[in-house]
Structure formats: structure tokens, C-alpha cells
């Protein structure tokens, strides 16, 4: 199955392991990716707060390029990028004024033929019951699936039915043998881009998420968003400072845990790139 791919900045930098693990599992699942050529910033976290038209123009440029490459389905692994692209698509199809302004100002031609998919949409398609039966390994951990905000919200954009209790990630991790726990914090705020400006706030918010995950008895938190990951993983020392507690629970990308089930090595999955040790998972899963 061939998909277009828009990695965005995080997947090339702070969340390299996300892209590495995605690329590592792709051939095993029959996935092929064609990257959007000459891609630019999606504008996430800042553009839409400053200039609406510009915030649509940035992702629209990406979409126009994807169309030129005739990419029918475009995978956007980063939840923030996904949200920006999906919002832009809706603006371009529903708002004639914005579409015309963009055409006049940036000479963008866009027809709206590209489907925008999250990583979950793709994994859900390729990990069929047959694939699940033939996996070399099982990832038999008690996990909690953390969605954060942008994978599910705003509902108008994502069309997720149960915004407060989504099940897509749970269904996927079940197919590789994991035990997803019922969890009330899966769509709580991680603090997102306050990571830089108000790190203490992220410490407080992520503290609640971690605390509850540990209380539930989870052995790992599974995520599909670089922002969630960096806040829960990279900001661990801040979280511990704010809450005054120690948390050892690792935070893994969904592509990494699927990699385990596919029999890939920790190095292939970028397991050493985490701030919080993934040893507890690596030592028992490989």
C-alpha cells in the first residue's frame, strides 16, 4: 500500500525515533511512502494565532504539492501537523473567500483530492487480523493509550465519534497482544506548546497524566503525537520536580511497539533516543 508522507519538523528532530520506527516497520507491513517534495513548515502552534490566511496558506502549499505528486492518501504522523493540514483542507473546500484569496496571493492551485490520514488511520488498515496472527512476537504489556488533543479534536475536523474516550489506538494495540487499560486521562491536555514558554505548567498537567497511568497499573504509555511524547518524556525531570514524585513509566510511539511485535531491534526503533529509560520494555520485549 502506497501513501504520501508529510513528516513535519518534529519527526526530523525531537521525535526522530517516530520516523525511524515508522520507516522500519513500513516494509514489514507492506507500506510504501513517498515524501512530499520540498515540504515546508505546517505552521502549527504559532501561525494560526497570528494570521488566519497565512495559517491556511502554509499547509495549503503542502497540499498543493502533494496533489502535484498525485498522492491520493497523505499520512501525517504528527498530530499537530495533521490538525493544521486537515483544517486547511476544510477551509479550502468550504470557504470560497479563503480559497480565492490564496489563489490570488500565493498562486496556489488546489482541488481537494488528497485524503489526509493520521498514523492511526493507516495502521488500522494494514494490521488486519491475518497480519496480527502472523506476527513473530506479541507485545503483551498493560498499556494506556494517550491521544492528547489534536488526534481527536476539534470533532468537526477529525470526525471522531467518541471524542472523550476514543478507541482507535486501543484497537490497534490489541492486535499486537497488548492489554489497553480503561483510562480517563487519555484526552487530557499535556500542555502542548507551553513546553517552552511555561514549562512548569506542563509539569503539572503531565504529572496528572503520568500519576493516573501509574495508578491504573500501566507499564507503558503509548502515544501517536510528537508533542505529547516530548512533554511526557523529555519534560520528565520538570514533571518530577513539580509533583515531587518519581515516575519511571516509559512513553512509546505506537510505531515502536508495533516494531517490537514485528521483531525489530531496539536500535531500529530508536529506543535509545528517549529521555526516560525504555529498558523495562526493551529487556522484556526483545
Amino acid at each position: 500500500m502506497k501513501f504520501g508522507l508529510y513528516p513535519g519538523c518534529s519527526l526530523e528532530a525531537s521525535s526522530r525515533e517516530y520516523l525511524e520506527s515508522l520507516r522500519a516497520i513500513a516494509p514489514k507491513l507492506g507500506l510504501e511512502f513517498e515524501e512530499v517534495k520540498n515540504w515546508n513548515c505546517c505552521g502549527a502552534s504559532s501561525a494560526h494565532a497570528i494570521d488566519h490566511l497565512f495559517s491556511v496558506a502554509l499547509p495549503a502549499t503542502i497540499l498543493a504539492q502533494a496533489e502535484q505528486q498525485q498522492l491520493k492518501d497523505l499520512v501525517v504522523p504528527c498530530a499537530a501537523c495533521y490538525s493544521r493540514l486537515a483544517i486547511a483542507k476544510i477551509e479550502l473546500t468550504e470557504n470560497a473567500k479563503v480559497r480565492n484569496e490564496l489563489q490570488a496571493k500565493y498562486h496556489l492551485s488546489y482541488t481537494g483530492t488528497t485524503n489526509i490520514l493520521t498514523i492511526l488511520d493507516v495502521l488500522e488498515r494494514v494490521i488486519t487480523p491475518e497480519v496480527s496472527k502472523q506476527l513473530p512476537k506479541r507485545f503483551t504489556k498493560n498499556v494506556v493509550c494517550y491521544y492528547g488533543c489534536l488526534l481527536v479534536r476539534p470533532q468537526r475536523i477529525t470526525n471522531v465519534q467518541r471524542v472523550e474516550d476514543p478507541q482507535q489506538m486501543e484497537e490497534i494495540v490489541k492486535t499486537i497482544g497488548a492489554h489497553p487499560l480503561p483510562w480517563g486521562m487519555k484526552t487530557e491536555c499535556c500542555g502542548a506548546s507551553f513546553s517552552i514558554t511555561r514549562t512548569e505548567l506542563v509539569g503539572k498537567l503531565c504529572g496528572r497524566v503520568l500519576d493516573d497511568a501509574v495508578c491504573r497499573g500501566a507499564e507503558a504509555i503509548i502515544v501517536a503525537c510528537p508533542m505529547c511524547h516530548s512533554n511526557l518524556d523529555m519534560r520528565r525531570s520538570v514533571i518530577e520536580h513539580v509533583t515531587g514524585k518519581k515516575y519511571t513509566i516509559p512513553v512509546l510511539f505506537i510505531t515502536q511497539v508495533i516494531g517490537f511485535a514485528l521483531g525489530l531491534t531496539p536500535a531500529q526503533l530508536g529506543m535509545t533516543r528517549h529521555f526516560v529509560s525504555t529498558e523495562s520494555i526493551v529487556s522484556t520485549s526483545v
Binding site: Q155, V163, E164, D165, G184, M185, E188, C215
Partner: protein
């Protein structure tokens, strides 16, 4: 030669603002067959109607066209005026130049020309109009009441007490409905069962009421005054005449762990059961889907214990047809539950319950015998959080409406909880407090001021478990949206009141309309609140929208008065807008060839076979005949008829063609 009067109405500014009414009247005066044409500011007013009455007499009119609003609005008005002046009312027609013209076009010459065209077509039709006479139909003075909750009970008693027969159908084994499940009732805190059960008994003992419990209405045919209802009496698997209701069978049943519907799943019942001790009728039924005998062919414990040998395993469902003149729909509502609130943990945590479950916990006849004990471990909860608007007024959840009863029952819950657990603390999260009934606001104030229930204005974002406590996260919007976190022992959700699961099917079986929330729709939201759009079918209680007890009872009595008014007449008149198969002189008798295509096409089963015989009794031919009592005037048969032998009175093919031809004339 026709002598038609044309009356053009200004409708104040509604028509005159965009249409030159005077010009319309003048143009129409020139048309063939028009004897009189005039415009007037308000034709529906008394002077306006008088204009029509006088003109009919003075000008000796043979037809009237009123160019004004939609016939749905004022056709009856003008036809009545014509009848008063001695003109057959069906010779009067309306030309709609308001909704179809003045309201939808700007002021212009073309708008006036369109208005003239509209009037012209109707004049062409009226030239062909024939006098028609209303159809008289008898009234069966028996009412069918569907649903045996408080609304159905009240309606049945009121109609029966007025001297008419009532058939009350209830799908559960007992009447009583939701009110039987309630603990105490606001705003007086009188015991729900204490005030309800005497009414239930009265229904059972009333000589004019026939009660069918464990039964459902499958279909309804006919029309006002003359319905036939098909009722399925589900097999109760007991002989009701022999059964004394002693309960030996209930004790004998080895299957004991079935979640009790009456206790909202908080208690259990056996497979042969009486829903609650005060049930009417107080006789058990066998739940065949759970009974060991019906599942495996072995057991029959209950049969062996029955002292009167009343158990009937071989009983079948019985389907009966009853003739009724009016139908009262009082099928009630249900409350949302289960997966609707993943964020509020319902279904995940045993101690998060719905309001109706909490009623059972508070009820003296409930699973805890009235002691407030939480479902998970039976402990007495010391902190209870009540969340109102759980689903209601939440467009994101698809329920924009207010469920109306929750503010009050939540105040009652919190109050009763405090009365039973003195050292307990009750919190209520609310959006607004809607306490707009007699004594209602005082009741809520009492909960806050005397019983010290803590009301927090704000929404709850989520409910989750932490160290054995249920954590309720919300915001206090009166403190600047300050986050609030309460570690509770129990959470009660005032979930939205919604239509019953089978509401849609029932509405379709009865041919009544329902809204997008599947609540049944009244004929007019203000002026006809208890009637449906189908004549002879009325609404009572929460099947129309969520209602509390006083309101349900009030509506039920209103409905009963409508039924009694209907039954006060011996016959009803119907509009003669029905299809007719032509008859003509021998030797043809009728152009109908007896193919009966019309019979298959008719949605109302109104077409019968009629044998035409000569005077000595020889059969000439079998032709179609339309039963005017059943015909609804839809015209489907007219379109189907191969030999053009059927016509719709008042809308004949000739009249329709005349209208169309007129439109394209010149």
C-alpha cells in the same frame, strides 16, 4: 354560464407590499365566467367575509375564488362564509398569492403578473367545480390507550369515568411505568408508590377499562372514530384465571440472577417473576428468553410448585383486533445510559449511576430497602456528586434540548440523601437551575439552604477512579472557572430523558409524526398540544417530550377531554375529498374494467370489489368501489387507473387539466 366572484386580499402589507392587488382584481374581472371581482385589506376579517356573503347573494354567484394566503390557513374560514350565504362550500377555492408569490418575490410588475396567473388557474378550476357534500361516519365510543404509566393511567381513568370504554395496553407485565420506580416525588416529598398504586388498582378494577399487560399494539388501520388496532398479547405462560399470585413459582425458580428491569439492573429477579410487589396485575410472567425450560427443555420447577396448576408452558401469543374510535399514545420515555458518557465513567465504575438507578437506591422497595448504599461494595457513601445536564443541552452529544425534570429530581436526590446520611456531603454540578413549577424554586432553595447541598455552577470534564475514590473534575464558573476536584464515593448522572427505543416503529405503525429526537409531534406546539396530525390520535405524557408527573397528568386529562369531546357525537363529518369510481347507465354501468390495479396501489386498503347485477340478479361485472370512510384522498388510485375510471372529488382530472391549460393559455 358560471358566475364566479374573485376576492383579492391585501393581507395587510403581506401581499399588498409586493403585489398590486387592485390590478389583480381588475385583470380578473375581464376573465370569462367572472361576474364580480374586488380587492380588500383583510378578507378574513368579518367585514371581508361579509363582502363575500353579500356578493354571493346579490350577484347570484356560482363559484368563489379567494386570492389570499395558503388554503391550509383560511380555506375552512372562507368555505364556511360561502356556506352561510347558501353556496355549496366546495365551490369556493383559494388562490395562494401570499406564500407562493408575495412573500417570495420583490415588489415588481412581474410579481403582480404572477399573482394574476395564479388566480386565473384557480378560476379555471372553479369553473369545473361540483357541489360536494360531507361524508358522515359513525364513532366507536371506545378509546385505546397505549402505555400504562401515570399518563396512560390518568387518561384511561378520565375517559372511563366519563362513561366510555377504554382498552389499556401495556408492554411490561405491570402497569405503573417510571412513576412506580420513583422513591419520593418533588416538591412535596410524598411517596410515589403511595399516590400511584391506588390509581393502578382503580384501573384494574374499573368496569369500563379492559387491561392488557405484556401486550403491544402491532398496527392501526382505519380513521378517526373507526380504527382497528391489532394487539399482540404476549404469552405470559400462566393461566391468569387460575393464578392467585401466591408467588410460590417465583420462589421455586432456580434462575435467580437476572438483572431486574424494575430496579434498573441494581437487583435481580428470577425467570418467572412479578416486576415489583405492588404490580398490577399481581401475577407473574415467564421471561422465555431466560427460562431454563424454554432454553433446554428441562426444569418445570415452577409448575411443580404451583398450587393451582396455573403454569402454561404451551401458551401462545394471542393476536386480537379491537375496534376503537380514538387512540391515546402514552408510551413514555427512557433515560440515557451506558456508553453515552465514557468521560463520566458510566459502565466502567459501578458507583457511577443514573438518576433512575439512584431512585431505586432511595426507594423503600429498592434493592437496598431505602438505605443509601453504593452498588460496588454496599458501603454508605459519604460524598455524593450529582451531575445535571448529563447529555441534555449538549449539541456535541446530539441532544440540544433540556430534559426538564433533572434539575428538580437532582435537588430531591441530594435532599433525600442528606436526610438519610446526615454526615454525608452532597454536591450538585449544574449549568442553570430550572425550577419553574409551583413550589419548585422553594424546593431547590430548601435543598441548598436547609439541607446544605453544595451547588457548584459549572460543567464536569471527567470522572475517573483514583485510589478507590471517584474523582470528579469540574470547574466553578462563579469563581472564575476555578478547577474543582472532588473525591467522591458515588456519582449520580442526571442523564438526558430520551424517546423509547421502539418509538419510531410505533409512530410508523400508528401513522403519526415524530421529531428528530423520536419524540412524537403534536399538531401545533402551542394551540394543539395534545393532538397529533392524524385525526383521532392523541398524545399524553413524556412520549411527546420529557415531562414531570404533574405535567404528564395534566396533559393526560387534557387528552381525555379531547377524546370525550369526540365521543360526545354519534357521527363525524369528513371532508368529501375522496376518490370515486364512475358509474353510468346500462349497458356499460361503469368504465371500470375490474383490473383492480387500484386495489394494490391504495395505501389505505380503501378499495373494495363490488358486483354489479341487473335487476333480476344476474352478475354484469365486478368493479372497484372506494370506501369513502377509509379513503384519505391521496389520489394514488387515480394515477394507477388504466381506464381513467377513478377520479378524486374536488381534484378531478378535468379540474387539474383546466388549471394547467389556463396557465399556458394565450
Amino acid at each position: 354560464m358560471a358566475r364566479i366572484g374573485v376576492f383579492v386580499c391585501h393581507c395587510g402589507e403581506n401581499i399588498a407590499a409586493t403585489v398590486d392587488c387592485e390590478k389583480v382584481a381588475k385583470a380578473c374581472a375581464q376573465l370569462p365566467g367572472v361576474a364580480y371581482s374586488i380587492d380588500y385589506k383583510y378578507m378574513c376579517s368579518d367585514p371581508g367575509q361579509n363582502l363575500i356573503r353579500e356578493a354571493i347573494k346579490e350577484k347570484n354567484l356560482t363559484g368563489v375564488v379567494v386570492a389570499a394566503c395558503s388554503p391550509r390557513m383560511h380555506e375552512p374560514t372562507f368555505r364556511r362564509a360561502c356556506a352561510e350565504a347558501g353556496l355549496n362550500p366546495y365551490l369556493c377555492e383559494m388562490a395562494n398569492i401570499r406564500e407562493h408569490c408575495s412573500w417570495v418575490h420583490p415588489k415588481s410588475e412581474e410579481t403582480t403578473l404572477k399573482a394574476i396567473d395564479i388566480v386565473k388557474t384557480i378560476i379555471a378550476k372553479v369553473r369545473k367545480n361540483q357541489p360536494l357534500y360531507p361524508i358522515k361516519v359513525p364513532v366507536t365510543k371506545t378509546a385505546l390507550v397505549i402505555g400504562g404509566g401515570i399518563a396512560g393511567i390518568q387518561a384511561a381513568l378520565d375517559i372511563a369515568n366519563a362513561g366510555h370504554r377504554v382498552i389499556l395496553v401495556e408492554k411490561e407485565p405491570s402497569i405503573g411505568g417510571h412513576m412506580a420506580q420513583l422513591s419520593e416525588t418533588f416538591p412535596t416529598l410524598d411517596c410515589s408508590q403511595c399516590i400511584l398504586t391506588p390509581r393502578m388498582v382503580e384501573v384494574a378494577q374499573h368496569p369500563s377499562i379492559t387491561l392488557y399487560t405484556y401486550a403491544e399494539v402491532e398496527s392501526l388501520t382505519g380513521f378517526i372514530g373507526n380504527f382497528v388496532a391489532r394487539i399482540r398479547k404476549k404469552a405470559k405462560s400462566i393461566d391468569e384465571k387460575l393464578c392467585t399470585g401466591c408467588g410460590e413459582c417465583v420462589n421455586a425458580c432456580p434462575i435467580k440472577k437476572i438483572p431486574s428491569e424494575f430496579n434498573m439492573g441494581l437487583g435481580t429477579r428470577p425467570a418467572i417473576y412479578i416486576p415489583f410487589p405492588q404490580a398490577v396485575p399481581n401475577k407473574p410472567v415467564i421471561d422465555r428468553s431466560r427460562c431454563t425450560y424454554f432454553r433446554t427443555g428441562k426444569c418445570r420447577f415452577c409448575e411443580s410448585k404451583c398450587p393451582t396448576k396455573a403454569i402454561r408452558f404451551d401458551q401462545n401469543d394471542e393476536v386480537i383486533n379491537v375496534q376503537v374510535g380514538a387512540v391515546v399514545v402514552a408510551t413514555g420515555f427512557t433515560v440515557l445510559e451506558s456508553t453515552f458518557f465514557p468521560e463520566y465513567g458510566y459502565g466502567q465504575y459501578k458507583d457511577v449511576v443514573t438518576g433512575l438507578q439512584f431512585e431505586r437506591i432511595l426507594s423503600a422497595s429498592g434493592p437496598t430497602l431505602g438505605e443509601v448504599r453504593r452498588p460496588s461494595d454496599g458501603a454508605i457513601p459519604k460524598k455524593v456528586v450529582f451531575i445535571t445536564c448529563a447529555g441534555s443541552r449538549d449539541p456535541a452529544k446530539g441532544i440540544e434540548y433540556c430534559s426538564k425534570i433533572c434539575c428538580m429530581y437532582t435537588a430531591k436526590h441530594a435532599m433525600l440523601y442528606k436526610h438519610k446520611v446526615h454526615d454525608g456531603q452532597a454536591y450538585v454540578f449544574y449549568m442553570d437551575i430550572r425550577a419553574t413549577g409551583k413550589g419548585y424554586d422553594e424546593f431547590v432553595r430548601r435543598a441548598i439552604e436547609e439541607d446544605h447541598v453544595k451547588y457548584i455552577r459549572g460543567r464536569v470534564s471527567r470522572v475517573y477512579e483514583r485510589n478507590g475514590k471517584i474523582v470528579v473534575c469540574g470547574a466553578d464558573t462563579l469563581l472564575g472557572a476555578e478547577p474543582v476536584e472532588i473525591e467522591a464515593d458515588m456519582v449520580v448522572l442526571a442523564t438526558a430523558g430520551v424517546a423509547n427505543p421502539g418509538a419510531e416503529e410505533l409512530a410508523q405503525a400508528l401513522h403519526i409524526s415524530y421529531d428528530r429526537h423520536r419524540f412524537f409531534t403534536e399538531a401545533h406546539p402551542k394551540l394543539r398540544p395534545v393532538e397529533t396530525n392524524t385525526a383521532g390520535i392523541f398524545l399524553a405524557g413524556a412520549c411527546q417530550s420529557p415531562k414531570d408527573i404533574p405535567e404528564s397528568v395534566g396533559q393526560a386529562s387534557a387528552t381525555a377531554s379531547k377524546v370525550v369531546a369526540l365521543f360526545s357525537r354519534d357521527e363525524l363529518t369528513r371532508e368529501p375529498i375522496v376518490a370515486v369510481v364512475n358509474r353510468c347507465a346500462p349497458p356499460l354501468y361503469s368504465t371500470c374494467v375490474g383490473c383492480f390495479m387500484c386495489q394494490t396501489a391504495c395505501p389505505y386498503s380503501a378499495i373494495e370489489r363490488e358486483e354489479l347485477r341487473t335487476r333480476d340478479g344476474t352478475l354484469v361485472k365486478t368493479v372497484a368501489r372506494v370506501n369513502p370512510g377509509l379513503c384519505q384522498g391521496c389520489g394514488t388510485c387515480v394515477a394507477f387507473c388504466r381506464s381513467k375510471s377513478i377520479d378524486l372529488q374536488g381534484y378531478s382530472n378535468e379540474q387539474m387539466y383546466a388549471e394547467v391549460v389556463e396557465l399556458f393559455a394565450e
